[in-house]
């Protein structure tokens, strides 16, 4: 939060909700706004650190504005559904009213900004430090192994067969780029659920980006030749065109996306769908962890001194949140947190060394399951299946305390649940630990 003594503007706290695609960012933002709107009700009112907050008001004047109405409509509809995936970036702005201090005649105000964007684009942050050969090398290291090598064996073979110094065939380049985008789309869907799908805008273009305008693909021959130095390609060759278009993508899409939205954050929520990745198995778990580590690299963390805070922002609070904790029985919900800590151990250690406030927690933005106690004393969960819309009663598996080092863990048949009926804007949505998350993020 910037509190410059030279300005009387309402202080703004920018919170980045960082998560890969399908992590539940839009649902979380909708739930956070709903809880802040109902700040005097429910569990949020009991949080000691938020005692002074009296009122929360969602502002419609942000540009581009987060579509809270659509989120509410989806969740409160009959039957309720999860908010639709985000297709472009937007900002949710909430004005908080804080109790009038004794020396003042009017209450204080504070603005919270929550940033929403397609998770696909977050992956592009990996590209910020890579030139074209580094991009090709990274993608080759992923594609030369299962499961990618099996998903798109033909395409990978064709890419490896292209001579980077040969004159480019534009029609073929466009066709390969199209096939590459389809391969990325296949990779992220079940049963693979892979996360490192680059470039992100090939999956979801956004309003101002057209992949056909500057087409490029990874050329694997660069890696197969074993060269390390940056090669010089003849003009109008495959290598020259792809390098030029890749650099254009990096400098005009990925870099502005980061500098515009992520460079001035005060707090960050790193959202991971650990249960979702566990249902896909070892490859998905490995891929998601690598993707997160890669995307978190460019962020600036740390606690600045007061003078530094006047001129630049750094992320001072980070909450690492494993979502969908309500899909587990109460005893396993605690294990989900320790599992997340174990899974992201290196990332958490890296963040902990930055002298920031760090919290690892398991959350559920909107609770979709309810514990049912059987006559014999056993517990199960009931909810509504997302795909069929029918009720489902199930006992989720007992989780281990820590993640196996080789990540060879897989959850079978865990249902994906739909939101419960009867949600209402005028009451805080039933969630798990949303109050604690907000108390942590707004503790200033």
């Amino acid at each position: 939060m910037v509190n410059s003594p030279f300005t009387l503007k309402t202080p703004v706290t920018r919170i980045g909700i960082t998560g890969l695609s399908q992590a539940g960012k839009s649902t979380l933002i909708t739930a956070l706004i709903n809880h802040l709107e109902n700040i005097r009700r429910g569990s949020l009112a009991k949080q000691a650190t938020l005692k002074g907050l009296t009122h929360g008001h969602w502002m419609r004047d942000a540009t581009p504005n987060f579509d809270y109405d659509a989120g509410l409509h989806a969740l409160t509809n009959s039957p309720p559904t999860w908010p639709r995936s985000t297709t472009d970036w937007s900002i949710a702005r909430i004005e908080l009213t804080i109790d009038r201090p004794w020396y003042s005649t009017k209450p204080r105000r504070r603005i919270i900004e929550l940033l929403d964007y397609p998770g696909e684009w977050l992956l592009d942050l990996c590209l910020l430090e890579w030139d074209y050969p580094a991009f090709c090398a990274a993608v080759w290291s992923w594609c030369s192994q299962t499961p990618r090598a099996e998903i798109a064996a033909d395409l990978i073979q064709q890419l490896a067969a292209i001579d980077p110094n040969a004159p480019v065939d534009r029609a073929y380049l466009l066709e390969l780029q199209q096939r590459w985008a389809e391969f990325l789309a296949d990779s992220r869907l079940p049963p693979h659920q892979l996360s490192r799908n680059l470039p992100g805008r090939f999956l979801l273009n956004g309003t101002n980006f057209s992949p056909e305008r500057h087409p490029f693909i990874p050329l694997f021959a660069l890696n197969l030749s074993g060269g390390t130095a940056t090669p010089k390609f003849p003009a109008n060759s495959w290598g020259a065109v792809c390098t030029q278009n890749y650099l254009s993508y990096r400098d005009h899409e990925a870099k502005p996306f980061f500098s515009r939205h992520f460079q001035s954050l005060d707090a960050q929520v790193i959202l991971i769908d650990l249960l979702g990745a566990m249902t896909a198995g070892q490859s998905a778990l490995k891929d998601m962890r690598a993707a997160l580590e890669c995307t978190l690299q460019p962020f600036t963390y740390g606690t600045d001194h007061w003078l530094g805070r006047l001129f630049r922002r750094k992320i001072r609070r980070v909450a690492v949140c494993a979502t969908k904790m309500d899909h587990l029985l109460p005893d396993d919900q605690k294990r989900l947190q320790s599992l997340a800590e174990s899974y992201l151990y290196e990332t958490v250690q890296h963040l902990a060394a930055k002298s920031i406030e760090l919290n690892v927690m398991a959350i559920a933005a909107v609770q979709a399951a309810r514990v049912q106690e059987e006559p014999d004393g056993t517990h199960s969960l009931i909810g509504r299946d997302k795909r069929t819309g029918q009720g489902v009663q199930f006992t989720p598996p007992a989780l281990p305390q820590t993640m196996p080092h080789n990540l060879n863990l897989k959850i079978d048949d865990l249902p994906q649940l739909a939101p419960p009926a009867g949600l209402d804007r005028t009451r805080p949505f039933p969630g798990r630990r949303i109050d604690q998350l907000l108390a942590f993020l707004l503790a200033d």
Partner: protein
């Protein structure tokens, strides 16, 4: 060379019990009801009710004092600059002293608020299906509260061993164990002080003396309990306990007055008079136990799982007061 086969994947299976219409429908209202905490934790301190009239009177009083002080300085300055300067310095010193006291009281209040908050967190974790996460954060918070107290080294040592695998009940159990010596010392002190107060009251012949005795012994009891736990009581906490002391004094005064008026007409029997006085002493002693008990609860970060002050203390107090006041 043959490559070793990858280890088999560990499969965690979900058991589907029923699907479709057999499953009861789920709605937000039911989940809200599940989440409602069954019993709210008992507040340690009474809730604050800031009233506009109190604020008005306080502000008026402060303004009046400032005006009087300014007038005194002007008057002193007219008399002699030295007198004026002296009055100014005295006023500033007084103001500084009050600010210092206020700051100390505020710090103590924050500490006790934090203790109350921690206790509430422990109580919330007792609810069925309550999440058991955040134990590590809580232990760090407790450690931060205790950091500047060398006497709490054992407690800090225990807190340093806490990790995320601990549950709230385990942490509470360990804290109870760490508080063992202090609890015993406080309970012993309360017992001793309650008996003494009871005997003083039973033996004292003058109502005014009773009034002073109760005030003196109870205030000393509260201070000494806080000292055992290395806690500085805040003004609201003190005020809460002093309200209880005032009730104890009121009880003493009323019973004394009734006793005086009745004894002249009805209680001609000396033995009966002594018995009634012993009863008065027992009443005061039991109320003193309650004050001490409340002071103990205020000073501990963990809520009491079993009565901190043994119920037998009440009986022992009664027995002791009876035996000391028995003329036989």
């Amino acid at each position: 060379m043959n490559k070793a086969p990858p280890p088999p994947e560990q499969i965690l299976r979900t058991i589907i019990h029923a699907m479709g219409d057999q499953v009861p429908p789920i709605d937000a209202e039911q989940i809200h009801q599940d989440q409602t905490i069954e019993a709210e934790p008992e507040p340690l301190l009474p809730t604050k009710h800031p009233h506009w009239f109190t604020r008005l009177v306080t502000t008026a009083l402060l303004i009046w004092l400032m005006v009087i002080w300014s007038q005194a300085i002007v008057w002193g300055w007219a008399l002699s600059p030295l007198v004026g300067g002296l009055l100014l310095a005295c006023g500033l010193a007084l103001l500084g002293g009050f600010l210092l006291l206020g700051w100390q009281a505020r710090r103590a209040k924050h500490k006790l608020d934090a203790i109350a908050d921690i206790q509430a967190q422990f109580n919330q974790a007792k609810v069925p299906h309550a999440p058991q996460t955040g134990v590590l954060n809580l232990s760090r918070r407790i450690a931060a509260l205790m950091q500047k107290k060398p006497q709490q080294a054992q407690l800090l040592q225990m807190l340093s061993t806490v990790d995320e695998s601990w549950t709230y009940s385990e942490l509470a159990h360990e804290l109870e164990h760490s508080y063992g010596a202090q609890d015993r010392a406080a309970a012993k002190l309360i017992q001793r002080e309650a008996i003494r107060t009871g005997i003083f009251i039973a033996a004292s012949p003058y109502p005014l003396l009773d009034f002073l005795l109760v005030a003196w012994r109870n205030v000393a009891l509260v201070e000494r309990v806080a000292l055992i736990y290395q806690i500085k009581l805040s003004t609201p906490a003190r005020w809460h306990l002093y309200q209880m002391i005032l009730r104890n004094i009121a009880f003493t005064t009323v019973t004394e007055t009734v006793l005086d008026s009745v004894s002249q007409s009805w209680l001609s029997n000396v033995l009966l008079q002594v018995g009634v006085r012993a009863g008065q002493g027992v009443g005061v002693a039991l109320y003193s136990v309650r004050i001490g008990h409340q002071a103990m609860r205020l000073c501990r970060v963990v809520p009491e799982s079993k009565p901190l002050v043994d119920r037998n203390i009440g009986k022992m107090v009664i027995e002791a007061v009876r035996s000391k006041t028995n003329p036989a």
